[in-house]
Symmetry: C2
C-alpha cells in the first residue's frame, strides 16, 4: 500500500516540515520505495515533481525539502508498487486538464476491476489502476458538465462517482483542482487542522519539532491529510470508510 | 522573445552540459528572466520542472544541472514575457495527454490572432498565446484521429496544422510525444547532430568544454535544437522560415 499526503490552506504555505517526515517513509521508516511525487498548485499553475527513486534518497526530494514552495493545495504520494511496474509513468500524483484547470490525483489501494473508459478523452499513459480511475473520474465529470459547474454541483457529482468507483476496490484518494482538495477514505486516512492558537508540532518519523507560533499569523489555517498521522503531539482525526471530505481554505466539509 | 532548447537521441542521454549554457541566458548572458521550464520523457513517462524564477538563479535549475536525468526527448524554454503575466501557469513547456501519451510543447514568437478552440477538449490554464496554440493543435489532431495514427499520417497532419497556425503570427516551436520531436521555425532555430567520431564541444555562454569521446559509445547519436547555437566550435545548421523537421533517434527528416 502507498502513502498519501495532502495540504489545503487559506494562505499559501510551504509543506517542508510535513514533507520532511513523510519522505522518510519512502524507504527509511517504511517500505514505500517504488517512487514518489508531489504536486503544488500556485494560483492556476501547477508544478509536479516526480521521481522513481525512493523519496528518502531522491535528489528531487532533497530539493522539495529545501525549497519552500508556497501553495494552497498540495498532493504527495509515495509508492509501494502493487499494480504496474516501477516507472515514471506509474508515479503519482497524476495530472490532467479539465475546463481550463489542472487536476491532481493520487490513490492508495487496489481496484480489483476497472470501470470502462469510453470516448478516450482521458487515457492512462502508464498501467496503474490508479491512473485509470483518475481518467474515468475526469471523463465522467466532463460528460456530465460541458463547462465547470457550481462547486456544490461538482461535489455532488464527485460524491456519486466516488461511490461508484469504490465498488471496484479499495479507494483512498486525494484529488484537487487548485481550489479545493477532496479526500476519500476506504481504509486509512487522517486529517488535522492547524490554526490559532498555534503550538509546537513534533514529527513521528524523525526527531524534529517546529513551533508554528513563530511562523504564522493568527488568521492562517492549514489542513493536512495523511494516510497515517505525521506528528505525535497533535490531534489527528481518522476518516471513516466511505467518507469524502472537501477541504477549502483549510477547513473540511462532509459530503 | 524566448529561447528554446530541444534534445532528441537514439539512447537516453543527459542534457546537463547543454543546459548549463542554456540556463545562463535566463537572466545572465541574455535577458530571458521571466521563468523557465524543462520536460524530460523517460519511456512513456514525463517529468516537467517549472519555475517562475530566472533559470540562471533558480534552485530547480540547479537541481536539473546536477541531476543527470537520462532521456531520449527533452524540451526546455526560458521565457521573456510578451503575452501573459509572469506566473507558473504561463511557463513553458506545457503538457497534455492525447491517445494515452503525454505531449510537451514550447513556443517562441507572438501570435497576433488566435484560432478558435471549439469543443473545449483542451483549454488553456494560463493566458499565453502559446498554450492556446498548443491546445488548438491537440484539439485538431484529436478531431482528425480518434486513435493514434501511423507516424507518417500524424506528421502530414502536423505539417498542415503548422502551416495554418503560422498564419496567425510568429511560430517557432518544439513539440514531442516522447517518440519524436518536431521543430518548426519561423525566425530563429538551429540544430546540430552529434555522432561518432565525437570530439570536444565548448559552450558560448560559459567557458566550459566537454570531450564527448569519453562519454559516448560509437553508436550514440544526439540531436540538439536551439534558438541560437549553444557551442562555438561545432557546426550548427539554421532552419529556414517555415521549415518543419521531425527528429527521431537523433536524426532529422524534413516534412
Amino acid at each position: 500500500m502507498c502513502q498519501l499526503l495532502g495540504m489545503n490552506c487559506n494562505v499559501p504555505t510551504d509543506i517542508c516540515f510535513s514533507f520532511e517526515g513523510f519522505r522518510k517513509r519512502g524507504g527509511l521508516t517504511d517500505h514505500h520505495a517504488d517512487g514518489w511525487g508531489i504536486g503544488f498548485f500556485e494560483g492556476p499553475g501547477c508544478r509536479l515533481f516526480l521521481d522513481w527513486q525512493a523519496s528518502s534518497t531522491s535528489p528531487v526530494a532533497e530539493l522539495v525539502r529545501n525549497y519552500p514552495i508556497k501553495s494552497t493545495n498540495v498532493i504527495a504520494h509515495i509508492r509501494k508498487a502493487t499494480v504496474g511496474q516501477i516507472s515514471l509513468a506509474n508515479t503519482h500524483p497524476f495530472m490532467r486538464e479539465l475546463w481550463g484547470r489542472y487536476w491532481l490525483f493520487a490513490h492508495n489501494g487496489d481496484l480489483k476491476t476497472l470501470p470502462a473508459l469510453n470516448h478516450g478523452r482521458y487515457q492512462p499513459v502508464g498501467d496503474t489502476d490508479s491512473e485509470h480511475a483518475f481518467c474515468w473520474l475526469l471523463q465522467q465529470l466532463s460528460q456530465r458538465f460541458a463547462e465547470e459547474p457550481a462547486a456544490e454541483d461538482l461535489h455532488t457529482a464527485l460524491r456519486e462517482l466516488a461511490l461508484q468507483l469504490a465498488q471496484h476496490g479499495s479507494l483512498n484518494f486525494l484529488l484537487s483542482n487548485g481550489e479545493w482538495l477532496a479526500a476519500h477514505c476506504a481504509t486509512h486516512l487522517h486529517y488535522l487542522v492547524r490554526q490559532a492558537p498555534f503550538g509546537e508540532a513534533h514529527l513521528i518519523d524523525q526527531d524534529v519539532s517546529v513551533d508554528f507560533k513563530a511562523l504564522t499569523t493568527p488568521a492562517d489555517r492549514v489542513a493536512l491529510i495523511a494516510t497515517q498521522p505525521l506528528t505525535d503531539n497533535e490531534h489527528w482525526t481518522a476518516l471513516s470508510p466511505g467518507e469524502l471530505l472537501i477541504f477549502r481554505d483549510g477547513l473540511p466539509s462532509r459530503l
